[in-house]
Amino acid sequence: MVKVILLRERKILEVSYTGPIKGLLPMVDYSVETAVVLRNGEPVEEEEEVGDGDEIKIVPVVSGG
């Protein structure tokens, strides 16, 4: 299971997923254009893989207004 922390939504999800981050994003309603992703606290390229035990933090690109 991948632990996905959605900062804007203030939600933590457990997602069953193994593969590149860019494939995980649409599952939580984000895309490479709308999210900056931290894996285990570090920013990573969306081509990087995630899997069991990883923690993914989604920082929304759009904010303010």
Binding site: R8, E42, V44, E47, V61, V62
Partner: protein, 308 residues
């Protein structure tokens, strides 16, 4: 993937094909920021720059970059924050501004709609007017920023608009058929009025996503809430469309801005107002006899009663 320097890449810049580590990424942003200023002659040595700061990522990254630049290229820097009076939003973002200004040793000035006009934006929004809160806020914010930047002796008012903001507005104006606004959106729009402080937008070629990443890798704390009044259906559609295009065809947003910039001299010549007069009521720059802000305040006064 690895950055060309050999370190682990944290970002793939799809529109240029570069894989960048956090250090090379930060360096590239600072270079881009300096290039935008230099190529467009946005400021001069010794200028007094007032930076509009909301506490969101764009303005805090801008403040950070300006401070870094001021250490090499001598100019005066201060911050101006407008408290519109949006409870649950602005009251939460202002502490981020205060912390950044104290960390960076920058003088901060805070002005509010309530003290300036007598009404907070929440009060104005409670009228449930057809114009909507964003229309009032935009006019009031521009007015108050310009007025107080001038009182602070500013040569330039620096704003944190990024590539996404700019490309969205270009497309919105195009699709609305609002050609007259096209003449007023360049890198450095100098209004023809002595009370108008020229606004500069040194982040306008930097994608919003890169601003967020820059804030994260440089430890700049920002408020990532969205303004409760911000959801605007038209802009959301344009944003979604541009993001979809950028994903399919990286470089779309840059191309749109570049096209606009190349057309700008012609647009400015044809569509910018030839002269701007002075509001008969408040004395601020205005296109008509009374400025939009004064017209709006009169309208609000009728609906909500005179301010205290």
């Amino acid at each position: 993937m690895q950055c060309k320097c050999g370190h682990k890449a944290v970002y793939f810049r799809r529109y240029s094909g570069q894989h960048l580590c956090s250090k090379c990424f930060s360096r590239s942003i600072f270079k881009k920021f300096k290039d935008i200023i230099r190529m467009n002659k946005l400021m001069e040595r010794g200028d007094r720059i007032v930076c509009g700061v909301s506490g969101g990522k764009d303005s805090l990254v801008l403040l950070y970059l300006l401070k870094k630049l001021s250490e090499k290229f001598q100019f005066e820097l201060s911050a101006l924050t407008i408290d519109e009076g949006i409870s649950g939003y602005r009251d939460l973002s202002i502490p981020f501004v205060k912390k950044a200004c104290s960390d960076l040793d920058i003088e901060l000035h805070i002005r509010s709609f309530k003290e300036e006009y007598g009404y907070s934006l929440d009060e104005v929004a409670s009228m449930d007017d057809r114009l909507g809160a964003c229309s009032y806020c935009g006019v009031f914010r521009r007015n108050i920023l310009n007025k107080h930047a001038r009182e602070l002796g500013a040569d330039r008012l620096a704003m944190g608009h990024n590539l996404d903001d700019e490309s969205q507005v270009i497309l919105m104006n195009l699709l609305r058929g609002d050609v007259s606004r096209f003449g007023r959106m360049g890198t450095f729009y100098r209004d023809v009025h002595h009370k108008f402080i020229p606004r500069i937008k040194p982040l306008r070629e930097i994608p919003e996503k890169e601003i967020v990443l820059y804030a994260i890798v440089n430890g700049i704390d920002f408020d990532f809430e969205e303004c409760p009044y911000a959801p605007e259906a038209f802009r959301d559609d344009i944003r979604d469309f541009l993001n979809m295009m950028e994903e399919k065809r990286p470089g779309t947003k840059h191309a749109l801005l570049k096209t606009y910039d190349r057309l700008y001299p012609l647009l400015n010549q044809t569509f910018a107002p030839e002269s701007i007069s002075t509001c008969g009521n408040c004395g601020e720059p205005s296109i008509s006899l009374f400025c939009k802000k004064c017209e709006m305040l009169e309208d609000i006064g009728k609906k909500l009663g005179k301010a205290d």
